[in-house]
């Protein structure tokens, strides 16, 4: 995820600050210097960095942190507030109330307009129950229309195209007319990537905009982009007029500094972030949550929301009940694992939980591979074996080995993990009788730091 390295650096800086009994002005200067480097390395625009540091310094001095006994918390808070401020403070709704509404996507080549067009269509279709028309206006890049067509098909949304020999202005006009005639709610216009200095193509955007009068004009920002982002966004804004930004490729380990810069410099909101390659990988941008994440404070709200979306409540309830009356078996363990899996990658989940250790891609791959092994092993068992794991003796295990292609060691690992989980469940059940309790998360996590998943995965599902 973007911002990770910034998060690391900032938390190191703060950690050292916490070690200081008192904070002097030179401490602050030292810290600001380090924050400056961290921000610049994260590709935050240098003008923004300058302002940011000035604001932090002024507030720090204004709040009289110097000399106080535990001022580091206060400084973290000041930095946090400033970051929220940079990111825009409050969430911004997508403006699609009118029917049909039009959304135009613009930007440089390769920033992800076509993919994002499909993701937006998917979002509007599934979350807002809108009838969406994707419009292919990239008549320049070879096979761009094919790409949009394939994506449109995969999400079950209509695409409007007139091929590559018609002008994009005409295509977008016709698309809008079609939307009016056939009761579409939203028209999404995918335009060709272009450089901000290409006068002719910039003019084309202006003409499209005039023709369809869109409610939203989004500029796509690649999360890995550097210092020039602001200049480019600015030119697009001056010439075309934007209503906001979508950050793409936010799942990379880009520093994401452009997200911290463009809102501040253009006063336009970031509305979405693209967090993966699948059409469902588009998240609404929440400035405050992002600020928490940048400062390593986790983002439990997003996690809970994801969980609510993905968890099968009935299934969860069943598992909880089973756990509580002690009849937890291998089938349940597998079901539970699958539920957690639905939330996304392990690393992604851990990042949302405050105070969780970071895992490297290797560790993550290992844990995910192990989970896969668990699934294979369990699926190679008979129904009886899964429900009564205690009957698994050598000959049965040997058969499972042959059937699953896994080793005896793998099988024993699964059973050991099962035993541990079961024990944990029993303890939970006891605790619950005494009034406590959450959602025990058992997880084949032998390979990663801390030796497993935290026992209290956000509770409250299915009870």
């Amino acid at each position: 995820m973007a911002f990770d390295s910034l998060t690391d650096k900032l938390s190191n800086i703060f950690k050292r600050l916490r070690g200081q009994a008192r904070i002097t002005e030179s401490n602050i200067d030292e810290m600001l210097k380090e924050i400056r480097i961290a921000l610049l390395e994260a590709d935050v625009n240098f003008k923004v960095v300058k302002n940011f540091l000035e604001n932090v310094k002024q507030k720090a001095i204004g709040q009289d942190v110097v000399g106080k006994i535990n001022p580091s918390q206060l400084i973290v808070k000041i930095v946090h507030d400033e970051i929220v401020d940079l990111l825009g403070g409050t969430d911004c709704e997508l403006n699609v109330k009118k029917s049909p509404s039009t959304i135009m996507l613009v930007g440089l080549q390769g920033t992800g307009k076509t993919t994002t067009a499909a993701k937006l269509a998917n979002f509007l279709k599934n979350k807002q129950k809108k009838k969406v028309l994707l419009t292919a206006c990239d008549v320049y890049r070879p096979a761009a229309i094919d790409q949009l067509g394939q994506l449109a098909k995969s999400i079950g949304v209509d695409m409007f195209t007139m091929g590559t020999s018609v002008s994009p202005v005409e295509i977008s006009l016709k698309a809008k007319q079609k939307a009016i005639d056939e009761d579409y709610d939203v028209v999404i216009i995918d335009t060709a990537g272009r450089l901000s200095i290409d006068e002719q193509l910039m003019e084309e955007l202006t003409l499209i905009k005039k023709a369809v009068n869109p409610e939203e004009v989004f500029f796509l920002v690649d999360s890995a982009s550097g210092q020039d982002t602001y200049n480019t966004a600015n030119i697009f804004n001056e010439k075309v007029g934007l209503t906001g930004f979508i950050m793409s490729k936010f799942d990379g380990d880009a520093r994401g500094g452009s997200a911290l810069s463009i809102r501040y410099l253009t006063h336009l909101p970031i509305k979405f972030i693209g967090v993966g390659e699948k059409v469902g990988d588009l998240d609404i941008f929440h400035p405050d949550r992002m600020a928490d994440r940048i400062l390593g404070m986790g983002d439990v709200v997003t996690l809970v929301e994801k969980a609510q979306e993905q968890f099968d409540e009935k299934e969860a309830k069943k598992t909880v009940n089973k756990m509580l009356n002690g009849s937890f078996n291998l089938d349940d363990m597998l079901a539970q694992m699958k539920q957690v899996n639905k939330l996304g990658s392990l690393g992604g989940i851990l990042k949302l939980i405050p105070g969780m250790p970071k895992i490297t891609p290797e560790q993550q791959a290992y844990a995910e591979k192990e989970m896969r092994t668990f699934e294979i092993v369990i699926n190679s068992m008979t129904k009886e074996e899964r429900q009564h794991p205690e009957i698994l003796k050598f000959s049965r295990k040997q058969r499972i080995c042959l059937g699953s292609g896994k080793t005896m060691q793998d099988i024993n690992k699964v059973l050991k993990k099962y035993e541990q989980s079961k024990q944990m469940m029993e303890q939970m059940a006891k605790m619950r009788k005494n009034g406590g309790g959450g959602f025990p998360g058992n997880f084949p996590g032998g390979g990663f730091p801390g030796g497993g998943f935290p026992g209290n995965f956000p509770g409250g599902f299915g009870r």
Binding site: I37, L108, Q109, D146, I197, G226
Partner: protein, 320 residues
């Protein structure tokens, strides 16, 4: 008199029209700033250097290299008692130049030797222009009389295969294509197999864009590399990392990650005709010692040039 007069002489001969035009936008802001800076501070002082620092950072050169460069420049200025900004600019170019070249001859053109085809693996994150760069490279070496084969190893992105096939059509080159979502390494195997059997000179292998932190995709890349090695033992002889000129400091991370999977032999920087300065290429050379080989300067097929450091730095710092 150092490098600067040599460069000036070199550039007075008007032999680099396209290079200059393409780079013009990239460098004009940068050189203008340097000149303005010079005018602002008639004398070189501390403020001058702190503003110079900002200018370099704004060009995406990165904090490390910027601080290092400024340090060297300060030392040099003191030692040689430089206080005129024009001299200082030329000292700046000297420093950037010698840091980059490090007294070695850096390769640019693809090397052809041996009987087997040269396999060039093209890698990069999503959207940097891999497919377009392949088309440009293919065009360049086709015009140089080489027998070129294109392999559509991006079976993941919707429309990617079609895009390469279209380029193949336009250039009159053979393209090896697999089914959508088929295993890319099998497509690559077919391609390289054909190339070996039919005596192609150059095989350009397109790969799916991947974020460098996605382990599975990186493993897939490793597999592609292994498959190539089965048919061409020292292949892929070239692995080019395609990098967008707008990329910030993440470019270094990208290069590092890809380099661990398959040794990157060069960077191709794309979209240098925009407003970005592409300073990231200096940072990558500085930290990983990977040179830039080609530079994409426009949208036309022949808008790909050999990277010329002298021209690049001259344009960056001096302008017209």
């Amino acid at each position: 008199m150092g490098l600067i007069s040599f460069l000036k002489e070199k550039f007075s001969k008007k032999d680099n029209g396209k290079y200059n035009n393409g780079l013009e936008k990239s460098r004009s802001a940068f050189s203008k700033k340097l000149n303005d800076l010079g005018k602002k501070y008639k004398k070189v002082n501390e403020d001058y250097f702190s503003e110079l620092e900002e200018i370099l950072i704004e060009a995406d050169v990165g904090v490390n290299l910027t601080l290092q460069t400024i340090d060297e420049l300060l030392t040099k200025a003191k030692k040689e008692k430089i206080n005129d900004y024009e001299e200082l600019n030329s000292a700046l170019i000297d420093i950037l130049f010698s840091n980059y070249t490090n007294d070695t001859d850096l390769p640019t053109e693809i090397n052809f030797d041996g009987d087997l085809p040269t396999v060039a693996l093209i890698v990069g994150v999503n959207g940097v222009g891999k497919t377009t760069s392949i088309a440009k490279l293919a065009n360049r070496y086709k015009n140089a009389g080489k027998k070129v084969l294109l392999v559509a190893g991006d079976t993941f992105r919707a429309g990617a295969t079609e895009q390469l096939a279209l380029w193949g059509d336009r250039l009159g080159l053979d393209v090896i294509v697999g089914k959508e979502n088929s295993d890319p390494s099998s497509v690559v195997y077919d391609g390289v197999y054909k190339a070996v059997k039919e005596n192609y000179d150059l095989v350009l292998v397109d790969t799916a864009g991947r974020l460098q932190n996605k382990n599975n995709l990186m493993m897939e890349l490793e597999k592609i590399k292994r498959v190539i090695g089965k048919l061409v033992p020292n292949g892929p002889q070239e692995t080019f990392l395609i990098l967008d000129a707008t990329t910030g400091q993440n470019g270094v991370v990208q290069a590092k990650a890809f380099n661990e999977v398959t040794k990157i032999t060069g960077v191709v920087i794309t979209k240098m005709d925009g407003t970005s300065k592409g300073g990231i290429i200096l940072a990558i050379k500085n930290e990983l010692n990977i040179p830039v080989r080609f530079i994409g300067l426009g949208e036309k097929m022949d808008d790909l040039e050999i990277f010329d450091l002298e021209k690049y730095l001259y344009g960056l710092c001096i302008g017209e």
